[in-house]
């Protein structure tokens, strides 16, 4: 789950990481009120879950209240990479002497949290890693005993020369590491971490991603989820306990198991089609889930055929078949559906499916080929 910058900054502030004062606004009037309150130049920053907001024109400097009004007007409602800006963060602008980067991520290879710091901040860290890897220091922390003071100091000393700034940065890194664990983060990032003319080290941006698997014990964080900024179908799918990702093709896919769902999509592409989505109905095959899955896919006007691929292990094919019949009768789809069910209770499933007039296929490759063919006919 992604958390907005303004939300992450609240968490930072609570933990004692210095951030410029700021507030979130959903209307121009509120944004102006905030700018008036600070009575000095501000930044107006769009709050959307996408990288490259600045480049897209979603982050602007406003010299005075009038400028803040103009930018708030422009940015609120703006479209950034397909997402509509519904909130802006209005925050005091600060003078910047230097920009650094601090981030903590899960490192899958070492199975440890890795802290990355770089004096080349303010730009994409992947770009730094590709072009000037010597400007990045990485440190894998022992997850059991945590980040020690001297380790944080050494990381900070890679960023600054001034002992006072090193001390401030070490403290920030230590606190950031604390946040990482406290909120079940999978990524936490300050880019840039800046120094001001009077020598202060301040976090002027904040990025925080939460491990979905930790959300059950992160009530407060879970409440920060911004449903507006997510794909509506993906939200509906999640609520029904389905894994779903919207794509741009025209062959709808309903599959059990994430790996098989990916492989099915890949095969659609391999045989010349284009998948409309990734959809895993999961292990337990509640017929209701199939109905929801079908409803979500049918809403996508690009979809010209639907393929259902089920390999029954724990999933029982007859449950899925019941779901298909239920969905067919309730939703009355006008596009062709081709089904391949194999494994547990396959025969029962075939009996059930006789109630409706659907295409079927016996193998993975055949169900894919058939779905592609049927999609062509519709055109």
């Amino acid at each position: 789950m992604k958390v907005h910058e303004y939300q992450a900054k609240t968490i930072f502030e609570k933990a004692g990481i210095p951030v410029p004062p700021g507030g979130v606004a959903e209307t121009v009037a509120d944004a102006v009120a905030l700018a008036e309150q600070y009575a000095r130049p501000v930044m107006v920053k769009s709050q959307v879950h996408v990288g490259g907001r600045g480049k897209a024109g979603g982050v602007k400097y406003a010299e005075n209240v009038e400028a803040a009004r103009v930018w708030a007007q422009k940015i609120l409602g703006m479209d950034i990479k397909g997402l509509t800006v519904k909130k802006v963060l209005v925050t005091e602008a600060v003078d910047i002497v230097s920009e650094s980067y601090v981030g903590i991520v899960i490192d899958r290879a070492s199975k440890k949290p890795v802290i990355m710091v770089s004096p080349a901040g303010g730009i994409d860290i992947e770009e730094v890693a590709a072009k000037t890897p010597e400007k990045i220091m990485k440190y894998a922390v022992n997850p059991t005993h945590g980040l020690r003071g001297f380790e944080a100091w050494q990381l900070a000393a890679f960023l600054y020369r001034d002992p006072k700034q090193i001390r401030q940065a070490a403290d920030i890194i230590q606190k950031l590491y604390g946040i990482y664990w406290a909120v079940d983060a999978s990524l936490v990032e300050i880019n840039p971490l800046i120094t001001t003319p009077d020598g202060k080290v301040v976090a002027i941006d904040a990025k925080l991603n939460i491990d979905d698997n930790g959300l059950y014990r992160q009530r407060e964080i879970a409440g920060m989820r911004d449903l507006d900024s997510e794909d509506a179908s993906e939200v509906e799918a999640r609520e029904a306990d389905l894994s779903f990702v919207n794509l741009t093709g025209h062959i709808g896919c309903i599959v059990n198991g994430a790996g098989l769902a990916m492989a099915t999509m890949d095969l659609v592409k391999h045989y010349g089609g284009d998948p409309a989505n990734f959809l895993d109905i999961g292990g337990s095959s509640n017929p209701q889930k199939v109905l929801t899955a079908m409803r979500i896919i049918l809403r996508d006007k690009n979809v010209r055929s639907i393929l259902i691929n089920i390999f029954g292990g724990i999933t029982r094919c007859d449950d899925v078949a019941n779901g298909i019949v239920m969905a067919y009768e309730e939703l009355k789809p006008e596009i062709p559906i081709v089904v391949r069910l194999t494994g547990t209770n396959e025969d029962k499933a075939k009996q059930i499916l006789k109630k409706v007039n659907l295409e079927s296929a016996d193998t993975l490759d055949n169900v894919v080929k058939k779905a592609i063919k049927l999609a062509e006919v519709v055109v």
Binding site: D211, V245, G257, G259, A261, P275, G343
Partner: protein
């Protein structure tokens, strides 16, 4: 032969009184697994499908000499269940449960590192050593005894691949799902090393997916350390970057973990990558035939004495396998009785 589990494996089921735990305990027992006990705190003294239930893993181990534990407890308690199993002294812990926080798993991994215990999973289907023992949730009906080892990050995709092999008359030694999470106890290279060391395994199918760099590491390992042929499959060629594809670990982030990178790494290491799971059997057959030929040639040439030594055993066994390979053709229609 097989890897990790066999006839002498004694299994204790953590969470045996739950819906999944009880169902699969029975399924495992039916397959012939020696399920010696179950654990649910507070339900000690009862039984599930004739299996005695204990209050703790250590009690179960003491009374039953269990050496393997399989975990079906809900995600909020599964991390604790792993620690409990490790502390009770079992040598193999298989965590089926999905949804364990990755940060917790980093601590678990740090805890077990250096101890005489192996963790498989979490978020995995478990494993089957064909006709010997099944631990986890894989359907026992799709496997068939033979000489191919299967290792995968997935569940149903693995079944699809196993079924393709079985339908083509190619049997397996051990099939193992290592899990779809970011932090897992056993990685590809661990399993590949075991298959290389297992005399019954003649070839390996490795099924990877997007996310992380495990497949790349495995490719290097195969090139450097393996004499047995490996065939690969990578899921997620059409997955968009930055999106989690069902599995917590299946995500392309910051440009790493793409299917293209993985396919390229495997191919560079001489591992052919199938475009569809159904193409795996033909590739395995071809690879095994080539390996056999190569080894025969090596055997004849004394100059390659060092390699021929390794080749000796496999060549003999491969010949012994032939009849069973033919027999399986008949069972190609066994699909209807799959579980």
């Amino acid at each position: 032969m097989s890897i990790l589990i066999n006839k002498s494996t004694k299994v204790v089921v953590q969470g045996i009184t739950g819906r999944d735990g009880s169902f699969h305990a029975e399924q495992m027992k039916k397959y012939g697994t020696n399920v010696v006990g179950g654990v649910t705190p507070g339900k000690g003294g009862t039984t599930v499908a004739g299996i005695p239930v204990f209050n703790s893993v250590s009690e179960a181990v003491k009374k039953t000499k269990a050496n393997t534990s399989v975990i079906y407890v809900p995600p909020a308690f599964a991390v604790d269940a792993i620690y409990e199993a490790v502390d009770a002294g079992v040598k193999l812990v298989i965590c089926i449960t999905e949804g364990l926080p990755a940060n917790d798993m980093m601590k678990v991994y740090d805890y077990i590192k250096g101890k005489d215990v192996r963790l498989v999973g979490p978020n995995c289907p478990g494993l089957i050593s064909v006709d010997q023992c099944k631990v986890g949730i894989m359907p026992g009906s799709i496997v068939k005894k033979g000489s191919v080892g299967v290792v995968s990050r997935s569940g149903t995709l693995t079944y699809e691949a196993i079924w393709a092999l079985t339908s083509a008359g190619i049997g397996q030694t051990t099939c193992i799902g290592i899990g779809g999470d970011q932090i897992i106890g056993t990685n590809f290279i661990d399993v590949l090393g075991m298959f290389e060391a297992d005399p019954a395994t003649k070839a390996v199918v490795m099924i990877g997916e997007i996310g992380g760099t495990d497949e790349e590491e495995a490719a290097k390992f195969v090139k450097k350390n393996m004499t047995k042929p490996v065939v690969g499959f990578i899921a997620g060629r059409t997955a968009p970057p930055g999106k989690r594809m069902g599995h917590a670990g299946a995500i392309i982030s910051g440009g790493t973990g793409t299917a293209e990178d993985k396919v390229a790494a495997l191919e560079k290491a001489g591992i052919p990558v199938a475009a569809s799971p159904t193409m795996i059997p033909a590739m395995i057959k071809e690879k095994m035939a080539a390996a056999k030929k190569g080894k025969k040639a090596e055997k004849k040439s004394p100059a390659k004495g060092a390699k021929a030594k390794k080749a000796k055993k496999p060549a003999k066994k491969a010949a012994a396998k032939k009849p069973s390979a033919k027999k399986t053709k008949k069972s190609g229609k066994a699909g209807s009785k799959k579980k």
